[in-house]
């Protein structure tokens, strides 16, 4: 009887230790966000290590939002440009090619594709939303989005840029990216990949709140 009781305590304590160990590992790897929380669109507080830059970023968003309650005023929604009629310098045909290639790479990472036509930009936002809904771990979402960017270029190209320009001439290489952006700005998301340093974007409060896949909050994001 005494032995059985002791074994029972041992088993319970072992299970307890294992549970605590698994919980701590899950927190370290960012699995503490529940699917239910993500589906409800609740603000997800960072559970990662304090030194994790993404966690610090989200913490900053939450703190700033709580402190100010709002951010800089943006232009009214009715001044939203007609993006569909903004044509890139290479022409509408090339815009559609870029959009189609990007969508294909994004669909590979999401695992599904949209039923919308290949030239419809809404398919991009739909796929991005699907990726955020499907993978509740934000590190996994970021890894997949990063993989999409890598897949757009030959593997040797970014590395060559780093060796030939970024490392020996950091200021020049940084300046080179801005004219490329201006010249290549189109109605595709492609152009946004060259945004650097400062980006001011304006969306309506109503639209920020109407999605169901884990919006953070509206607030200024900084380092």
């Amino acid at each position: 009887m005494s032995l059985r009781f002791t074994m029972g305590i041992f088993k319970r304590s072992t299970v307890g230790i294992l549970f605590a160990l698994i919980s701590s590992l899950a927190k370290v790897h960012g699995y503490s966000q529940s699917r239910a929380c993500a589906r409800k669109g609740a603000t997800i507080l960072p559970r990662l290590h304090a030194q994790d830059p993404v966690s610090r970023l989200e913490t900053e968003v939450i703190k700033t939002t709580a402190k100010t309650g709002s951010t800089v005023p943006g232009p009214p929604v009715d001044t939203k440009p007609d993006y569909a009629n903004i044509i890139g310098p290479l022409g509408k045909r090339m815009d559609q090619v870029f959009l189609s290639v990007f969508r294909g790479k994004l669909a590979e990472q999401v695992g599904v594709d949209s039923s919308l036509p290949s030239t419809d930009f809404k398919a991009i936002t739909d796929l991005a939303g699907a990726m955020n809904a499907r993978f509740t771990n934000r590190l996994e979402i970021q890894r997949r989005a990063h993989a999409v960017l890598r897949a757009l270029f030959p593997s040797w190209l970014p590395r060559s840029y780093a060796v030939l320009f970024s490392k020996p001439f950091p200021a020049v290489s940084a300046s080179c990216l801005q004219p490329i952006t201006i010249q290549s700005r189109t109605n595709q998301k492609f152009s946004c990949f060259f945004n650097t340093i400062q980006t001011a974007v304006f969306v309506s409060n109503e639209r920020l709140g109407d999605k169901n896949y884990g919006n953070l909050a509206h607030g200024r994001i900084g380092d």
Binding site: Y161, A162, K167, N195, A200, V201, D210, N215, I221
Partner: protein, 67 residues
């Protein structure tokens, strides 16, 4: 994306980097997705990582979500 302009920004060490910034006044992706989480996790952070890890360019993207 919408209207944008090249600007000067503060870079490492507090010096001003001439023409090293780009102010994008409106972003189609954010505006049409309407979700800050999608913006941060699908665009902002991966793009920063791509620039830093693959291209060796240390860039930060500051996004203002405004009404």
């Amino acid at each position: 994306m919408g209207e944008s302009e090249i600007n000067d920004v503060e870079v490492d060490g507090g010096m001003m980097g001439k023409s090293q910034g780009l102010l994008v006044k409106r972003c189609r992706f954010l505006e049409e997705s309407g979700c800050a989480s999608v913006c941060v996790n699908s665009c902002k952070v991966p793009t920063q990582n791509f620039f830093m890890q693959d291209m060796g360019v240390s860039r930060d993207r500051h996004v203002s979500f405004a009404s």
